[in-house]
Symmetry: C2
């Protein structure tokens, strides 16, 4: 079959008619499928039930004898800080254990920076006029919503296969003192699935921001979420920062939302000792600590870093077929037409699809009308606006493989319709 | 024996010497006791272990079939909202389930009001110059620390046996638009143990604050924490507000920190539907929800409001002897000398002691030097300053009955020394 670009207009019209017929048939099925969020399904959640089966009397005392059922241990229990520190290549003194949402930790860190300022900063962010964040795009929609909520101006930085365009990012960060932060998902990035290259991490560590209260929000959500034999390697940014004396510039976040339970995991904030001290002081006004039984429950279940990795192997065995299924459907459905490209990640929760400019919103709308929900087109961009209207985030984890295959089939048909409509509006070259 | 006031100076000097001898003996024991915080002890925490013994497979699905292990149900699971709503005399639509700290919910509500504003407010609190909070004193130190952290000016309102001095409180709230809030612990108040009278609650509901973005922070921490046969009755403030059309003025908070586990409970925010809608919208930017397994764990364990009350009966049986022990020690140690008075609450976690002016800091210091730690003198007042230096908070829950008796004995000796020192500095009338 010919690619859509190489078709004449009459061939395109015939093809559009054929796809519209297929679409009508799919629509008539009355699907009710959700491909919009990167969330685990029930079977995947079952993989962690043993964690909840532990004898609760084994979950009372930390190794130093602290009763985790009581107040105390503001920054979390030692063994949790130690385990997650190891996972991130850090000491337990670099760790604060949070509640069950790393997003909440990030929000909290931003709002405190606005009202109270960051360690070493002269004034709170909120007293410095219009502040800005750098936003590698496509990126994680909920990061951008935090900025929008607080009126923080967002500057898009294109994502390359190696991570953000660091040359551009550096120019903004180093020239404008109103630029106070940057959002990153450095490993199996949401949504492109890329892992920042060693050069990219090095460039982050080497930043000399114009603002002395600039922070890198290093959202390492998929730190151990590879699902193929080859796991991407992410350089430890704190190691790189050490060489540049820039450790205070980084806040790293992670959680077990996609390790154990999205609704009942534990979250982690990692930072330099100076930052941890500063943040712990702030935290002492806010709370007497997060759920420590749940922290101990996690640590006693994983035992050590190998236990955590073995647990993630089970998750990988479960997720990989879903990704393969979605990718196969894309190949089968779209290779001939040649109207888009997509990422084939080694881990994480997303496939990023890029179609022809001007097709994304139309495609998502068509899918929705056929009962298949995708993440809103534009969601991965600041203010929800994809300037080229071409990117769509695909989240294969939640539907069953069967639902996934049906959804992706609908997706391919809708892509084709949207692409043909765009191509038919353009003057043909031949 | 004579009261200290009726003694001559020489009698006082002899008595001081006697007490100093007793003090030296106590000090030599080398105590290491902590009476500073209202926290449960291990035996008390054991009362809730059955909650953790539930089969985890019974804690997966809500009654409407939601998988609590996954994302979703931002404001909490229905059955939790329903149960805690009932406890507070409200509908589930008036409830947001939080994490395990009501303090964190309060902090969060204040910081969001500063940055984003409250429902119906014209501007965020942070954009209105110097704002103020009314602080019934003696009160809860951590409330005051939140104000201090954010530079909110604190205005002390004396606590009476019926609650805050409502006439004074009303004058401030209704005359000054910079007054944005008031802290309350309306039942078994921290530290006085008083419960606000129906008239006091009515007066709160009838407030017509000068600021249209004024909020009552109704920290109902001890909502079900009576430990005697007669439980104090607190009028439902929302019922009272309904009559005045002032429901939007109240944020109510509670938690199970002193019901199940201080380190792993659940917290609750209750408010008018309008406020809940507004706050849930803000919350949707911040997180995908708090730990829902723990919510379900709590509800399935209590089953209903009677289950919760029966559980608290066990706590009461455990706490009452500790309070009786502390009160007996105060009577035995101080009745004759007649140098102070104290509250004898029907519930909660504290006894509030008032000695002669100028004795509190000295007494706490003497106790500390003898190895018995009390809450810092002044802690129950804004900025940590008790203008009369006479109030001390006694928290009988954590030490064993034996430790408690020993601690209170030391306390009485130190009170006597401090009182005699003050009386000896005054000119004798006779």
């Amino acid at each position: 079959m010919k690619s859509y670009r190489s078709m004449t207009d009459s061939e395109r019209r015939a093809e559009l008619e054929a796809q519209q017929k297929r679409y009508a048939k799919e629509k008539a099925v009355g699907y009710k499928l959700d491909m919009s969020r990167g969330k685990p399904d029930a079977t995947q959640l079952n993989l962690s039930m043993d964690m909840l089966q532990q004898n609760p009397y084994d979950l009372i005392y930390t190794r130093k004898g602290t009763d985790v059922r009581n107040y105390g241990e503001l920054a979390g229990v030692d063994e949790a800080k130690e385990l997650f520190g190891k996972v991130l290549g850090l000491e337990m003194e670099n760790i604060i254990m949070g509640g069950q949402s790393s997003l909440a930790l990030m929000y909290d860190t931003v709002i405190k920076a606005i009202v109270l300022g960051v360690c070493g900063g002269e004034k709170p962010w909120g007293q410095q006029g219009q502040i800005k964040f750098l936003c590698p795009t496509p990126g994680y929609d909920r990061h951008f919503r935090i900025c929008e909520e607080f009126g923080i101006e967002m500057i898009s930085i294109p994502m390359l296969s190696t991570g953000p365009d660091m040359e551009l990012l550096r120019q903004y960060a180093e020239s404008d003192p109103q630029v106070k932060g940057v959002w990153c998902v450095p490993k199996y990035s949401n949504p492109t699935g890329c892992t920042f290259s060693p050069e990219t991490v090095e460039a982050f560590a080497a930043l000399k921001p114009a603002a002395d209260d600039f922070r890198i929000f290093w959202d390492n959500a998929y730190f151990v979420h590879g699902f193929r034999d080859t796991d991407d390697e992410l350089v430890n940014i704190f190691e790189a920062c050490k060489r540049h004396g820039s450790e205070d510039m980084v806040y790293e976040f992670m959680s077990t939302s996609k390790v154990t339970f999205s609704g009942a995991g534990v979250a982690v904030l990692a930072a330099s000792r100076r930052n941890i001290e500063f943040l712990t002081r702030q935290m002492s006004v806010q709370t007497l600590g997060y759920d420590k039984i749940n922290q101990l429950r996690h640590v006693r279940y994983f035992k050590d870093i190998d236990g955590l990795r073995n647990h993630m192997k089970k998750q990988a065995d479960y997720l990989l077929p879903k990704f393969e299924c979605a990718l196969a459907a894309l190949h089968t459905g779209l290779d001939d037409a040649d109207i888009g490209r997509w990422t084939e990640p080694n881990g994480g929760y997303f496939i990023s699809y890029e179609g022809l400019p001007g097709t994304a919103r139309r495609c998502v709308q068509l899918c929705a009308e056929a009962g298949v929900k995708f993440t809103d087109a534009g969601a991965c961009f600041p203010y929800g606006i994809d300037p080229e209207d071409k990117q769509i985030r695909i989240a294969p984890s939640y539907p069953s493989t069967q639902e996934l295959y049906m959804s992706m089939n609908v997706f391919c048909i809708c892509q084709k319709i949207a692409a043909l409509e765009v191509l038919l509006r353009e003057p043909t070259l031949d």
